[in-house]
Amino acid sequence: MHAGQLLLRKAGSALLTIGFVLVLNFFLFRVLPGDPARAGIKDPRMTRAAQAAIHQRFGLDKPVLPCLASLNPLRRGPCLVNPLQTQFFIYVNNLLHGELGISYHTKIPVGQLLRARLWNTAVLLSAGQTLAIVLGVAGGVLAAWQAHTRIDYAALIISLVAWSLPTFWLGLILLFWGSRYAGLPIGGQLTPGLAAAGTWAQFTDAARHLVLPTLTQTIIYLAEYLLIMRSTMLDVLAEDYILTAKAKGLSTFQVLKDHALRNAALPIITIVALNLGFTVAGAVQIEAVFSWPGLGQAIFESVARRDYPVLQGAFLLLAVSVIVANLLADLLYSWLDPRVQAAL
């Protein structure tokens, strides 16, 4: 199949999936019990008029679908004739106009809120994932090359232990250790009040805030990458063409780089792509431990507060990230291994 056709086919199926997610997102949160107008407010003074006003303000007074006032069985209402006046139509219409709505909780436009949170998460992710990928792949190659030596055993044991650690637990341990003995910040992204300081001061402060969450993420993901890389490399290194390469007198580095690594890279690319896609939702636990104002925390808080617009927006973003990451992995696959393209 031609590369352009392949790209079109893949992009088409990705778009279809996103469309499905858009619809699912809408209903997913509305089948949850509870009322956003009352979430977080247990106040007998909150009058019915106030509740009605909040419902009206957020369009919650309108039925979800033309013939089902609400998916919540406790709040079923009469059928409505005009489908244009349903929450679902308004949701789709707004999406087509690029509007994700207003957060019920913070009253901030969802697009604005998610943009800020996504940036924070991206900063955290790029640092942690880059380190984990580089160290994990290098460690896996080294362990495989030195298979059944002390280096290999040490890499195996450390990786298995690191992979088994609960993320929040590791984060807490590093937090205690880092704040007490290394004087690193307890959490957040930047020391409050530093806005007036110079760029360099802000940069070093931001870097110090990044150390512990990045270290946590690196340790957790490094182990996964190392183990997979080691296992794949061991298979590849047993192949005849590696023996041939060695027989040709190539250096160890050349054998690993040109012959082994490229063939062993496919599973790692899959895992990295999947991880990148999913972690856009924010490394929820890491963000919670280190009070990192990322997307994961936004999702966590919004679930508790029934903040439908934020949840819809965040899940849409998450779905798009996973789909795009998978698409990229597919394309990368066919570039790395022409047999894949031929099979497609």
């Binding site: 949850l32 019990p33 509870g34 009322d35 009352r38 979430a39 977080g40 407010i41 247990k42 106040d43 007998p44 003074r45 909150m46 009058t47 019915r48 008029a49 106030a50 009605a52 006003a53 909040i54 303000r57 406790l74 207003i102 909780h105 913070t106 009253k107 901030i108 807490l172 937090l175 205690f176 704040s179 007490r180 004087g183 910040p185 307890i186 959490g187 957040g188 992204q189 930047l190 409050p192 009040g193 806005a195 919670a288 431990v289 280190f290 009070s291 104002p293 925390q297 936004a298 508790a304 029934r306």
Partner: protein, 549 residues
């Protein structure tokens, strides 16, 4: 040559003098406070979270100030005059007060704020404070006249949290949806602190308003930093990254108290709160239309509720759940409400034998495992196996349910414990009454009216009542206290209402939880810790603290 030497010497001396004479600039005194949340919005009309109100109390002024000892004092108002019929209040506003942007604060701003709150039903907290106000006018720059539609005994509590907004800022956002959508990012107020910087979910940085008319802060800045993880909060104060934390897990209190330069303090919370064990007492007669009212019939009998009270070991609940940081509860009116709390009540002592006897005497047959829910156990009879629900976000409720199940088993009462999403539980609660027992709680206004209202017959249909309790005498007492302007007489009525509901065992109040906070002793001094109530993030402490020399 000599001249040159002399010149150089003079120059050197001059430089030296200049260097030694130059005053070393004092670093700004910045108090850093760690807290678990963040304001949901800076718009006082739509804000819901406590963290938002903590900031509003520092940035805005109101006509009254609520003090740590539970009393009110005049704030922006310098005098108040009540008409003979109790329906008109005339406030004289202090002159010369300015907002943080330099514009004068006048009576017109006060009237504008109250009218704004009154006009917007979608202001969940502010709007109800204006419910009793018929009109609010400002005939001149220093006079505000509030005309009520009925006499109320607690005008102070209705005004103390209505923060005065600058009309010149809010005027453009006062009508329609704009009043809700306005983000109020500049947060211009007139209070002891002014907003310098705000990052939602990260921090709020406040600067001192040294020109404040009554409470100019001694520090230069206060920063509230969001640290969502409770363990990290403890670590933050322990390592000196913050100077005070507004909350901490009770389990961490003992160890943190031993850390160098850290002091852990506890007392009744400034914002009173109460935990409650709620019995569904809605009968077929009191059940609102369209409500389920599926409560176990046994809980409608006072004898059963009294027996359950005798079978509840409150001290054990306090020791296990709060690690001792609480006091046994009596009624829905918590001890944090000061003079309104009836401390003369004698609680039901923990005595399972007495509880058993009460149930036996009332005819609730016990087969050795469980009791019938109807006296004399006619066939077929429901049993005392109660559905016990609690909001799934509650930390203490699961353990409390487990402990209660163990205690009540001794008197032949079973429970079916279940955590339920808070909103779903609200739907089951009120006015559906589709439960037997719930473990929940209330936050309270400084005035008892809010919580007293919860137990009125009238509140059953509106969804405010969570028990379905109905007592004509209690209702009559409520009406009396709600128009009684004499403080002492009103206190007596409120105390009598508490005695009545305690006698009827409407709720079991397991405890009043203490506020536990921690502060560094090597950074600032002057935190207010010697009052009956505690809140170190309150304006009373933050305008009083000074750096440790």
């Amino acid at each position: 040559m000599r001249k040159l030497f002399r010149l150089l010497l003079m120059l050197a001396c001059g430089l030296l003098a200049a260097c030694t004479a130059a005053p070393t600039p004092e670093p700004p005194a910045v108090a850093r406070i760690g807290y678990g949340g963040s304001p949901d919005t800076l718009n006082p009309g739509t804000a819901v979270l406590t963290e938002a109100y903590t900031i509003f109390a520092l940035v805005y002024d109101a006509l009254y100030t609520y003090n740590l000892d539970g009393t009110y004092s005049l704030g922006l108002a310098e005098s108040v005059d009540r008409s003979a019929d109790g329906l008109t209040y005339t406030y004289k506003i202090r002159s010369g007060i300015k907002f943080h942007d330099g514009q004068p604060l006048t009576a017109r701003d006060v009237a504008f704020t109250y009218n704004l709150n009154k006009a917007h039903a979608e202001y969940p907290y502010m709007n109800p404070y204006t419910a009793s106000m018929e009109s609010i006018t400002a005939p001149d720059d220093t006079t505000v006249v509030i005309r009520l539609n009925a006499v109320i005994p607690n005008i102070e509590s209705q005004l103390v949290f209505q923060y005065v907004l600058p009309a010149h800022v809010w005027q453009a956002h006062a009508a329609g949806a704009a009043a809700v959508e306005f983000e109020n990012e500049t947060l211009i107020g007139s209070g002891p602190f002014k907003l310098l910087e705000y990052k939602q979910g990260e921090f709020v940085r406040l600067g001192a308003n040294k020109q404040h008319f009554s409470r100019p802060p001694k520090v230069d800045e206060v920063i509230f930093q969001t640290i969502g993880n409770p363990d990290a909060l403890v670590q933050a104060v322990s390592t000196g990254q913050v100077d005070m934390i507004t909350e901490l897990p009770n389990a961490a209190a003992e160890k943190l108290g031993k850390a160098p330069n850290v002091k852990v303090v506890s007392a009744a919370p400034f914002a009173p709160a109460v935990s409650d064990i709620i019995f569904n007492q809605a009968t077929s007669a009191s059940c609102p239309s369209k409500s389920a009212c599926t409560g176990n019939v046994a809980l409608q009998d006072r004898q059963v509720r009294v027996a359950l009270a005798h079978a509840t070991n409150k001290q054990q609940l306090i020791d296990v759940l709060l690690l001792g940081k609480g006091t046994p509860g009596l009624t829905l009116i918590p001890n944090g409400l000061g003079m309104w709390f009836n401390n003369s009540l004698q609680d039901y002592e923990y005595n399972p034998a007495k509880a058993n006897k009460i149930l036996d005497d009332a005819g609730y047959v016990y087969n050795g495992e469980i009791r019938c829910a109807v006296p004399d156990c006619p066939y077929p009879s429901p049993i005392m196996n109660f559905r016990m629900y609690w909001p799934s976000d509650s930390v203490d409720a699961p353990r409390m349910a487990e402990l209660l199940a163990g205690m009540w088993k001794e008197i032949g009462v079973g429970v079916q414990p279940q955590a339920i999403d808070p909103d779903a539980l609200t739907a089951l609660c009120c006015p559906a009454f589709d439960f037997d027992i719930m473990l929940w709680g209330w936050g309270s206004d400084p005035d008892p009216n809010l919580l007293l209202n919860v137990m009125r017959t009238e509140s059953i249909a509106t969804g405010s009542s969570e028990t379905g309790y109905s007592n004509a005498r209690y209702d009559a007492l409520y009406e009396q206290q709600s128009v009684e302007l004499d403080l002492k007489k009103r206190q007596a009525l409120v105390w009598e209402m508490q005695r009545q509901v305690h006698e009827d065992a409407v709720y079991i109040i397991p405890y009043y939880e203490m506020q536990v906070q921690a502060v560094r002793t090597d950074r600032f001094t002057g935190w207010i810790v010697d009052q009956n109530k505690l809140d170190l993030s309150d304006v009373s402490s933050l305008v009083n603290i000074t750096p440790v020399k």
